[in-house]
Symmetry: C2
Subunit: 216 residues, 2 copies
């Protein structure tokens, strides 16, 4: 598959490139083509050092959308609306939202838009026939690029398009030891997104690092 | 410690009695003293069969509150307000809320009161010096009484009183293989409560049974 990553120079973008580009063509997008190319070269190099050939290229975000069968929105919630405003061509694409709207006072807390969740905001902002699926929300940013560390977590996947959700769950299951679970309709994405500030707090209050979750 | 359980004939009440009454004095409360006594006898019998002596007695709910150093509110959310209206004497007690306000359409969803969570509603309904702590929210009801099954899960504990939270975390860690984690202030209880409908959905959509969670 071709996977376009909007904001592909961030942790999750680079992480997905590192962990999927041996099997899939990854188009790492950025507003800045230089940054995208550099991130792509880093991925190719990291995998080459392990004797693995990778299919990864840098591009502007619009090209990542245009080329991707699946488009991952690896952007901060605060940049979501302006980023989507600047892009077109999402019609009929599978669009993955790993976005968590989080704020911080004396503790981290979930700070969703009026839509109910970031994924539901994505659905509102995109054409109606875009197939929005939330996934990869609860994986610590630091863990993504450490290729020697397996990612041994559950990934709750939400979406209203059954086929799209199945494809995304298949993709999740290709990444390290991640195990996808169907968490129901996109409306449930609020709970999954809100787990991220919860695990940030759990890390903070229990002196733990890079906390993740497993459904067992 | 003396642990009073309001609504002690339910799954979590009976479960806590089964799993803590060898070490702590459990007062299983109910509106119906007959039911409470029967539940207490069941616990005593179940432990006796395993050669374990248990300290468990049936009582009316008010007695469970009066005698408990810690009071567990093992009630359905829809009965919370009427139950608390009928009881007094919570001043300065540690009060544990394992309550999850859940509704169901085509899927289970979190349906909290205007307070933000059931635990925050408990805080509003009780005297200001009651020390409300949320815990035991995400453990499958069926699992509690199966004494031969270990409960190998994480328990996210929320509360604003540091000492009370520590005592509750200690209690959690005495139950089977449960591992308490400090999940921050009581305001975070909304996220922890909302995980319960999420795991109900995960069980439903993935053909799993009695799903629980671990923070790792």
């Amino acid at each position: 598959m071709k996977i376009g990553i909007v904001g592909g120079t961030g942790h999750i973008g680079q992480g997905l490139a590192h962990r999927l580009s041996h099997n899939h063509e990854i188009i790492l997008g950025s507003r800045d083509i230089e940054k995208a190319s550099y991130a792509s070269e880093c991925t190719i190099k990291a995998l080459k050092e392990r004797g693995i050939e990778s299919m990864c290229s840098g591009a502007v975000n619009q090209e990542a959308v245009d080329k991707g069968d699946i488009v991952v929105l690896s952007v901060n919630y605060k940049n979501l609306e302006s980023t989507l405003d600047s892009l077109t061509g999402f019609e009929n694409k599978i669009v993955i939202s790993p976005i968590n709207p989080i704020s911080k006072g004396d503790h981290f807390y979930y700070d969703p838009p009026a839509d109910g969740s970031a994924a539901l905001a994505v659905k509102r902002l995109l054409p109606e026939n875009a197939k929005v699926v939330s996934a990869f929300n609860n994986i610590a940013a630091n863990k993504w690029k450490q290729l020697d560390d397996e990612l041994d977590y559950s990934v709750a996947v939400c979406g209203d398009d059954h086929e799209a959700k199945k494809i995304v769950m298949g993709l999740v299951n290709e990444v390290s030891l991640l195990k996808a679970v169907d968490a129901g309709p996109l409306a449930m994405s609020s709970v999954v997104e809100s787990i991220t500030p919860l695990i940030f707090n759990i890390a903070k209050y229990n002196d733990m690092k890079d906390v993740g979750i497993k459904f067992i």
